[in-house]
């Protein structure tokens, strides 16, 4: 029942489907082995989701060294007004964009923007500073914006 959603999460964290499958498999083995520890506190989906995310982080941490970009200036975004164009983008397109992010940007963006973790929580999870987390998020946003611009080469200012 939850497998589809959980697999969807692994696809966001993984570089490709093979890696997503590995993370999913590893995560589900943990879920089966720790199922007795689940004590009906909170939703089962939330509990499984946490395990899958942690598994993804462990794997990425294992295979990629996070770049420690300490306290880099937090970059402000140029404001674009083309949300209506973005709505046309499909989930798979967005997923593909996220996958093209470097591992550290991808993880921080996923945790902050999609999972809803704070920079403090991310810094603790990834053992990086909050500044690094903010910096990575900022870079991820820049990258995604650039990708969207490539996808829709017309800037929003020109559209509106």
């Amino acid at each position: 029942m939850y497998a589809d959603r959980l697999y969807g999460i692994t696809l966001r964290y993984a570089r490709n489907e093979d890696e997503a499958k590995d993370i999913f498999q590893e995560g589900f083995i943990k879920i089966f082995e720790k199922l007795k520890q689940y004590q009906n506190k909170g939703s089962l989906e939330g509990w499984m989701r946490k395990i899958i995310v942690n598994t993804a982080l462990e794997r990425i941490r294992r295979e990629n060294k996070f770049m420690l970009v300490e306290d880099e200036a937090y970059m402000e975004y140029e404001q674009y007004k083309y949300e209506h164009i973005l709505e046309e983008l499909g989930q798979k397109d967005l997923l593909e964009m996220i996958r093209q992010l470097s591992p550290q940007y991808r993880v921080v963006f996923n945790l902050y923007a999609i999972e809803g973790y704070s920079h403090k929580e991310i810094s603790e999870k990834l053992n990086i500073s909050e500044g690094t987390s903010k910096s990575n998020l900022s870079r991820a946003r820049q990258f995604l914006k650039a990708k969207i611009e490539q996808y829709y080469p017309v800037k929003i200012s020109q559209v509106i």
Partner: protein, 499 residues
């Protein structure tokens, strides 16, 4: 509307937070396989630990038995004599100048005051060696009375210099007979007691003149009488003399037992390593057979027994739902044979023994790769791989409950010698015929065994028993990349005779 950082985050979140994708089908297969292998690995670890533990216990017990001096303290020899002191015989030294008639005067047998029991200052009290060993107190909780009778025919033969015998001035050693009589409560009639003792001596065959009673006051209940115990209830004052055999908490045990055992046996195997382990599980299943043998046990104490013997057991597995593909057929000269790969190894069977329906030329075409490459054939019958072992156990048995129905726990090792093996085709009617052999099978293996024994006494010497047993091979039965460890469950039953 602006597309700021909040919007881009929210946009991705809205689009992807609940994103669903169907996981690849084979991922569940991999997960299942992994979990199964972990489960088996855990079970295997426990079995090995149990086997090693059992082996250590057996080895420790054997070492303890074989080298008693290694573990004994200086006083242990004396302790060992305590058992003997519970019999009707032990030794005391008679007073000087009167070896033949120590004269059981209540206060003259021993002059050394430290040998007197606490509080027994007025009466004689030649402490038995067990009394001395236990610091001068009797085995009995209450006060007791002792009586030593000298037998001059026995001399220093057991005086090994240790302090188990009572020292006297002369050092002459005599055998003392101890008797048990019952005194009337409260006032013991001295003469009646003497007569009773004389009568008892007569019945034991000891010369009655060896027993004399002094004219001293009647023996008090506090007097310790060596060997036998005349006990007095401190509350009621009632005295009773009881036989050592009755007072001893030790139940007689048999030093040697012989068992005949027979059991149905269910065997299967664990597969480790290799690539085909999981696939084998779909086509291989347990085999039901039997086991039997003779077993003898040597008891070290009431509770501890070492067992060994000789058993015959059939282990193996059943292969079913066998689908033969073109790759399974091979040519060796003019012969065409089928390779039945399984977890235990490879079985080569002439194709004609497996497939009657197919014309030989078709098979030849398959093998030579000319025509029927896609050929597959599902075997209607099942194939049984059977391994016959002679097994020598070395087991340690501990009696947990020692009643009419004994409960025993057994653990140890089996040395398994493969004496015969074969592969048999078994049709729906249960008829079997030999079709080949399994290659790369070890001729010798160790296995760890654990059992729970229930033993019911049918008589003084005869017991009936039931023994559920688990046995697990400690080294693989085959010599392939895939390592296979057979295990079996049996419920042995039979009769045992004690000597």
């Amino acid at each position: 509307m602006t597309f700021d950082r909040v919007h881009i985050d929210g946009f991705f979140r809205r689009k992807l937070y609940r994103y669903k994708a169907e996981p690849p089908e084979d991922v569940w297969y991999d997960i299942y396989r992994y979990l199964e292998s972990r489960k088996k690995q855990r079970r295997r670890t426990y079995m090995r630990l149990a086997a090693v533990l059992a082996a250590l216990v057996v080895a420790g017990s054997l070492l303890f038995t074989a080298l008693p001096g290694l573990f004994s303290r200086p006083g242990n020899e004396q302790m060992a004599h305590n058992d003997r002191s519970q019999s009707m015989e032990n030794f005391v030294r008679s007073p000087a100048g009167n070896p033949s008639n120590p004269g059981i005067t209540g206060n003259s047998a021993v002059s050394d005051p430290h040998l007197l029991p606490p509080g027994g200052s007025g009466s004689m009290a030649p402490l038995s060696n067990q009394d001395e060993a236990s610091g001068g107190s009797s085995d009995q909780d209450g006060p007791s009375m002792g009586l030593a009778l000298a037998d001059p025919s026995i001399s220093d033969q057991e005086n090994d210099g240790s302090n188990q015998d009572i020292e006297t001035n002369t050092g002459h050693l005599t055998r003392k007979k101890s008797l048990i009589v019952t005194l009337p409560a409260g006032e013991a009639d001295h003469q009646a007691l003497a007569q009773t003792i004389q009568g008892e001596l007569h019945s034991t065959g000891l010369p009655s003149d060896n027993a004399t009673l002094s004219n001293n006051p009647p023996l008090s209940p506090q007097t310790v009488l060596n060997g036998g115990n005349l006990s007095s209830d401190p509350l009621t004052g009632e005295s009773s003399l009881t036989s050592p055999a009755e007072t001893s908490p030790e139940k007689k045990y048999s030093a040697l037992t012989i068992k005949a055992a027979l059991s149905p046996l269910m065997s299967f195997r664990d597969v480790e390593g290799g690539t085909g382990g999981f696939d084998y599980n779909t086509s291989e299943s347990r085999l039901f057979s039997y086991s039997g043998g003779i077993n003898f046990g040597l008891s070290f104490s009431r509770r501890l027994t070492v067992r060994s013997g000789l058993y015959y057991s059939q282990l193996g597995q059943t292969l079913s739902k066998i689908v033969l593909g073109s790759d399974d057929f091979h040519r060796s000269g003019d012969d065409i044979f089928v390779k039945l790969n399984n977890s235990l190894g490879e079985v080569r069977v002439p194709s004609s023994r497996l497939i009657d329906a197919k014309p030989p030329e078709s098979i030849a075409n398959i093998v030579d790769g000319s025509k029927l490459r896609k050929f597959s054939y599902t075997l209607g019958a099942s194939v049984v791989q059977r391994f016959e072992y002679l097994r020598i156990p070395l087991m340690l048995e501990y009696t947990v409950v020692d009643k009419r129905m004994d409960v025993n726990v057994l653990g140890g090792l089996h040395s398994n010698f493969l004496v015969n093996e074969g592969v048999y085709l078994k049709n729906d009617q249960g008829a079997t015929h030999h079709i080949g052999n399994t290659s790369n099978i070890s001729r010798f293996n160790y296995s760890g065994t654990f059992a729970l024994g229930l033993e019911y006494a049918l008589g003084n010497q005869m017991n009936m028993y039931l023994e559920p047993t688990v046995d697990y091979f400690l080294n693989p039965i085959n010599q392939d990349e895939t390592k296979t460890y057979p295990y079996s469950f049996a419920v042995y039953t039979g009769l045992s005779i004690s000597f």
